[in-house]
Symmetry: C2
Subunit: 186 residues, 2 copies
DNA sequence: TCCTGAATGTAGCAGACGCTACATCGTTGT
DNA sequence: ACAACGATGTAGCGTCTGCTACATTCAGGA
């Protein structure tokens, strides 16, 4: 027999899968419970309320996402802006990451409306990802690493948003323009 | 007495206000009807279904938004990248535009999940805004205007997303890095 | 052996959702 | 005068929402 913690943890894993495939707006108690192989009744026994369920599950997903990124682009020798952008672009466009990106926009949308758990989690994820970029980016001597990483992240988010609304061509030609600038300036 | 079209149109205006203040997820029939000073029954008499209501109202909002941008940054002499970014940044951060930006993320989130009306409308708005930027941006001779405008839009979207999730500092330092590059390169 | 307390099932609450059937107005054309 | 028709109110449908009250089962300690 499993302990309470183990069962709770297993539920989180399964609910994370459900969140990935169905999105934040479809994350209501009964479907979540079904995905976790239990009942809404038990979900509210394991967790205080729906907010706690979402918060815990989203944090779990953030860990998963970073682990996947680490695997695809291991920390090691730093890469120049252009190279890193290309490598990350490939990962972010892959089918295994796409669900995370959908969820990320859901989160941003909620955060923009001021929902506190969304703001917290989204902010934390952004911070982690910024650190992730910083540790993998190489810049020229006269440049500021932190600022370049911020530029990288901001630009990536913009590309992702334009992809999401069905305008990948804009994102693509923006990438061309940016790396052309880089080649010239850096 | 007003005609049916006039009343329908007035309802759209009022529902647009409601959408701006309450967000897409709160746009359910009964509150929309209350905001429009009518009943859910009459809303579904004016429009085929909820989708048509949202589609018409969102298009109305897109018009409003572009009109407001035109007023704040009139077309005329083109501006260099850095200057335009600054001017638009001020507008986009203003209180009168903020509700539009919230809605924009809602739209992106829905589009990312593949909802067709969201994809359509978001794409059209992005196209219009890209044209808006193109007509106001000045680039050096060796640069590509279209690509620079795409870069501008992409970067702006990224800044906006980072603002929304409570990390304006990342967006700010990204802007610094980008314009530093521009100064050097262009 | 009995008792206690944790784990879990069953049922239901009150409210919201999109949408519709039906009845009733008031106007207009004949 | 009366019929026809558009406009609108009332009421409700079936389903979903987060959450809870209550009852039961089951394991371990006294």
């Amino acid at each position: 027999m499993k302990t309470r913690e183990e069962r709770r943890d297993a539920a989180v894993e399964l609910m994370a899968d459900h969140l990935l495939s169905e999105g934040l707006s479809a994350a209501t108690l009964r479907p979540l419970a079904a995905a976790a192989g239990t009942s809404d009744r038990m979900l509210l026994y394991y967790f205080a309320d729906k907010d706690e369920i979402l918060s815990v599950t989203l944090h779990r997903l953030a860990e998963r996402m970073l682990a996947q990124l680490d695997e695809a682009v291991p920390v090691g020798k730093p890469r120049p802006f252009r190279i890193l952008l290309e490598e990350v672009g490939v990962v972010v466009a892959s089918d295994s990451i796409k669900p995370f990106m959908h969820l990320w926009l859901d989160l941003a949308s909620g955060a923009s409306r001021g929902l506190q758990p969304h703001l917290d989690i989204a902010g934390q994820i952004a911070d982690k990802f910024l650190a992730w970029v910083t540790s993998r980016l190489k810049v020229k001597a006269h440049e500021n690493l932190a600022a370049s990483a911020a530029l990288f992240l901001t630009f990536l988010e913009g590309m992702h948003l334009l992809d999401a609304i069905g305008r990948p061509s804009i994102a693509g030609s923006a990438a061309t323009a940016l790396t052309a600038n880089s080649r010239r300036a850096i």
